[in-house]
Amino acid sequence: MNQGLSEEDAEDWVDKYFTQMYRFALTRVKDQDVAEEVVQETFLAAWKSKESFSGRSTEKSWLFGILKHKILDYFRQVKKRGEIEFGDPGEWESAENLFQANGLWKTPPSSWGINPEEAAQNVQLLEALNQCVENLSDRFKSLFLLKEMDGLTADEICDQLEIKPANLWVMMHRIRSRLKTCLESNFEFSQSGLTK
């Protein structure tokens, strides 16, 4: 419980975080008016539930946590309006094409020569992956952002977007597979590490 937050604190949130939160929302909803609206709703929701801010997390991570759920709610409305259908995983013919009749890989994956921790520090690789995410379809991009970049749980996503968990696993695999192919076509990975 934190009842010590004052009106000045709420105004201070706007001064400190509005621009950052707006930019973050804009990368997800792609419409300036919607992004503004989502951020405004976030501040209002944060103020109404200020007692829930325990101080265990930072003010910023608390506000961004609310914002991510508001963005999920935006996609729930998009689905409700019939603009994007999230639930249908569709066919994935390419998965069958990856293997020979005996179950072995046709083109076996080879090492990227870099472990996840090293890769996470590589700015060029991060930029390349971000670009690959941008190239995904709207539906896959939204799912990937919500789950992998924003860290929302599969339960929250499945519940709000009416997706069966088994379908979410299939779609996440398709997305990761596409991103892997995209990265490999944009970068040269070698045993000695990453080179552009």
């Binding site: 706007v14 804009l26 990368t27 501040f43 103020w47 005996n102 179950g103 994956p109 890769a119 695999h173």
Partner: protein, 99 residues
Amino acid sequence: MKSLFKKGMLFLESIFKMTCRDVFPYVSEMLDHDIPFIPRMKVKLHLAMCSVCSFYQQQLATIKKLSKNIGLAQEDSKEGPELSDEKKLKIKEALKKEK
């Protein structure tokens, strides 16, 4: 005793019968949630023996790790549109109405 031995042999056979194609869907799914014990063990044993599938698993795990970092970096984005003081004022006014 014989029955137990037979079951054990069948289990081992099922592990060695697992192909890369069989393991493929689980490699990604295991990054999302815990799958049941028996298939999890089968997949782990296959990955321990198959460097090719192990590379595939590492690549997907790398993409997951990178994605999380991109998301966190986007919370501190220094690039993007600046918003006018007027917009901020509008939100502050809306907050005042809630007080």
